[in-house]
């Protein structure tokens, strides 16, 4: 009983710590003026919503391109993650640990330095200001996380079931797709979500390599945060968070459904 009470206390505090700022953010997005020490805003406005829906930023296109870009990055990062994890976790080869360590290098370099350096590389490769360039840079950012997630799951699943499938007559490819992949699914889901969020929230790298031509929600949101327009930043941040959450729910729902269909087969 005591344990349960403690647990609900912890859960309560956590929910409070996450939900309260979110609620404040939603409130701010329609706030005109909210000065200290008032508990609630003094005036409300719909200017932000109006700007969001009818402003020059063209929200539907922005959402579409951001989500689409993030989805491509998430899928590619996860595919590479699955394969890299398989190579480093299930096989030992010369330079195996070097490959594992190299994946983390982008995390060690300061963000701005990384972005500037990679911009030069992209100019040299002729990929500056192109979508492909942005996708590649986002991939570099997302890969360390996706590879780590997939490495843990891959190590946990191991080759045991693949060995079993092989002796039961499954070719290596069929063994992987029919036996291992379904078991990697929870990891793949995390990896997809992680890749999505990382790409979705990229600002500096998108700006440097995309040259501002590749427009994402973050690119529009961040200047408003920097300029201190709290109402407008809040309304964009609300859209940002809720669109990302919506994508997660859809992804989870889709995977649950495929799993269900798999069961009845």
């Amino acid at each position: 009983m005591r344990k349960h009470r403690f647990l609900s206390f912890v859960l309560g505090v956590t929910a409070f710590a996450i939900l309260l700022p979110m609620a404040v953010m939603v409130l701010w997005s329609v706030t005109g003026r909210w000065s200290w020490p008032n508990l609630l805003p003094e005036s409300y406005t719909l200017r932000t919503v109006q700007e969001l829906l009818f402003g020059s930023a063209k929200l539907p296109q922005l959402l579409f391109s951001s989500i689409w870009l993030a989805a491509v990055v998430a899928v590619l990062a996860t595919i590479v993650g699955v394969m890299t994890a398989r190579a480093t976790e299930l096989y030992t080869f010369f330079g195996c640990s070097a490959v594992q360590a190299a994946g983390f290098l982008p995390l060690l370099v300061p963000g701005t330095v990384f972005a500037t350096g990679i911009q030069l590389t992209m100019i040299r490769a002729g990929l500056s200001d192109t979508l492909l360039g942005v996708v590649l840079v986002h991939l570099v950012v997302a890969l360390p996380y996706c590879v780590t997630i997939m490495a843990d799951v891959t190590a946990a699943v191991g080759v045991r079931h693949e060995e079993q499938a092989a002796v039961l007559g499954a070719s290596p490819l069929r063994a992987f797709f029919l036996v291992t992949l379904p078991q990697l699914l929870p990891g793949i889901l995390s990896s997809l979500s992680m890749g999505f969020v990382l790409s979705y929230s990229q600002y500096f790298t998108t700006l440097m390599v995309g040259g501002g031509r590749i427009k994402t929600l973050a690119l529009v949101l961040v200047p408003y945060i920097q300029s201190g327009d709290r109402a407008l930043s809040s309304v964009y941040a609300t859209v940002f968070v809720s669109s990302a959450l919506l994508v997660f729910f859809l992804l989870e729902w889709a995977i649950k459904r495929t799993e269900k269909r798999g069961e009845t087969q």
Binding site: W36, T45, L120, S128, T130, L131, M208, R213, G228
Partner: protein, 411 residues
């Protein structure tokens, strides 16, 4: 599982298609030799092209104005598609210098919103295209070519590398319902801070606004003329602004947090003022109070004021990137923005001081400018221009910022 695979493949394929398509859209206008071409040829070459305009994207009103009013105007008159890209000037310059370093000949930036130190360093490093302003008919038609702000940007000769865009001027603001008095000089400001101890501050340097406010106090205490030709030497500058340093130190105890720390940016100060935590705010946008009252951020009783001796004004400009793929188009758009029509809409919708010379306007245009209702709580254009002081050389600005950090903050 097969469906998932198919989806992945589809995504990857559509990506590679999009990547292939992205490269070919630029139209080569550089076949035209811009240095010898006539204006008609330039306009003709620009027809049907796309021009990108890179600049700070944190002002929803300006973004909207560019994307609608200006974009529609150039589409209608010149069949040019204007693409506005929000990017901070630091990143724009980083991008350009990266391209310069790599020897790129064609980038993605056409027009840049720029001024001051950034203009100085961009020009010095060959990141800008020019000179080009003498080609623009509207320079002659609307702009006072002898105005110091047309010739120099922060005392730096412009030499045709940028055209004026809008004028800014340092103003201060307070809520007349909270503090009825509005300090008109440095002494009154000191008294004001003592009366409202802990409720006044300014953004920590090198914030753009904070830096300008400190320069304004320096002008108050040391005069402005001597700085126009001063060398950017630490000791020289320090000696020249000694009275101001003493004043700022004396001010510290009455400021927010007793002057031990300062808010990190003008954004923070804006929010603190809007929240009532501070009684006074300062801005580079001379009509920002009107905007604030209109969108409900500021109370209806908020008022703008300036020092009797004047406040620093500067102009911000439009330049063209050295590797702009569409220089002709950029010149046409810049020329359009200099027109009386566009400057009027800028004054009207953005409440920015226009750059056009009043005596070059037709009677009709003049009447249209006069008819603009600028809104509540602001000073008139005439009052502002009557209290306008020139900027000091761009090279002095970082020196003053360094001195402030060493001698003022927390002392």
């Amino acid at each position: 599982m097969k469906k998932l695979l198919a989806l992945m493949l589809a995504l990857v394929m559509s990506l590679s298609l999009a990547a292939c398509g992205a490269g070919d859209e630029e139209i080569a206008v550089d076949a035209l030799d811009l240095s010898t071409a006539s204006w008609e040829e330039i306009v003709e070459a620009a027809r049907g092209t796309t021009v990108t305009f890179y600049g700070w994207g944190g002002d929803e009103n300006r973004n909207n104005w560019l994307n609608t009013t200006v974009a529609d105007y150039v589409k209608e008159h010149y069949d040019i598609t204007l693409e506005v890209v929000g990017m901070n000037i630091d990143e724009i310059l980083a991008k350009l210098s990266g391209e310069k370093q790599m020897g790129a000949t064609s980038g993605s930036i056409d027009m840049i919103w720029i001024n001051g130190e950034n203009f100085y360093s961009a020009k010095e490093n060959g990141l800008l295209y020019g000179p080009f302003t003498e080609k623009l008919p509207n320079m002659e038609a609307y702009i006072d070519l002898d105005d110091p702000e047309t010739l120099n940007d922060f005392c730096m000769p412009i030499e045709g590398y940028e055209a004026p865009y809008a004028r800014a001027q340092m103003v201060m603001m307070s809520d007349s319902a909270v503090t009825p008095e509005a300090p008109a000089n440095a002494d009154e400001f000191m008294e004001y801070c003592k009366k409202y101890a802990g409720k006044v501050t300014y953004p920590a340097l090198p914030d753009f606004t904070g830096s300008a406010f400190v320069r304004n106090l320096i002008y108050e205490l040391c005069g402005w003329e001597q700085f126009q030709t001063m060398e950017a030497d630490y000791e020289t500058v320090k000696a020249a602004i000694a009275p101001a340093i003493e004043y700022l130190r004396a001010l510290n105890p009455y400021l927010w947090n007793e002057g031990k720390t300062f808010p990190d940016s003008s954004t923070t100060v804006d929010s603190m003022f809007a929240d009532g935590e501070l009684v006074m705010n300062m801005s580079y946008g001379p009509f920002s109070v009107a905007t604030g009252i209109a969108n409900g951020t500021y109370t209806d009783t908020t008022r703008t004021f300036v020092f009797d001796n004047g406040t620093i004004g500067n102009t911000n400009y439009m330049a063209i990137a050295f590797d702009s793929p569409n220089k002709a188009g950029a010149m046409v758009v810049i020329n359009a923005i200099l027109s009386g029509d566009i400057q009027l809409t800028q004054y009207e919708t953005l409440r920015e001081l226009p750059v056009v010379a009043t005596d070059k306007l037709s009677a009709e245009e003049k009447a249209a400018f006069d008819a603009v209702e600028i809104g509540e709580g602001v000073l008139t254009q005439a009052e502002l221009l009557a209290h306008r002081l020139p900027e000091m050389p761009a090279s002095l600005v970082p020196v003053i910022e360094e001195i402030w950090l060493n001698e003022v903050v927390g002392k």
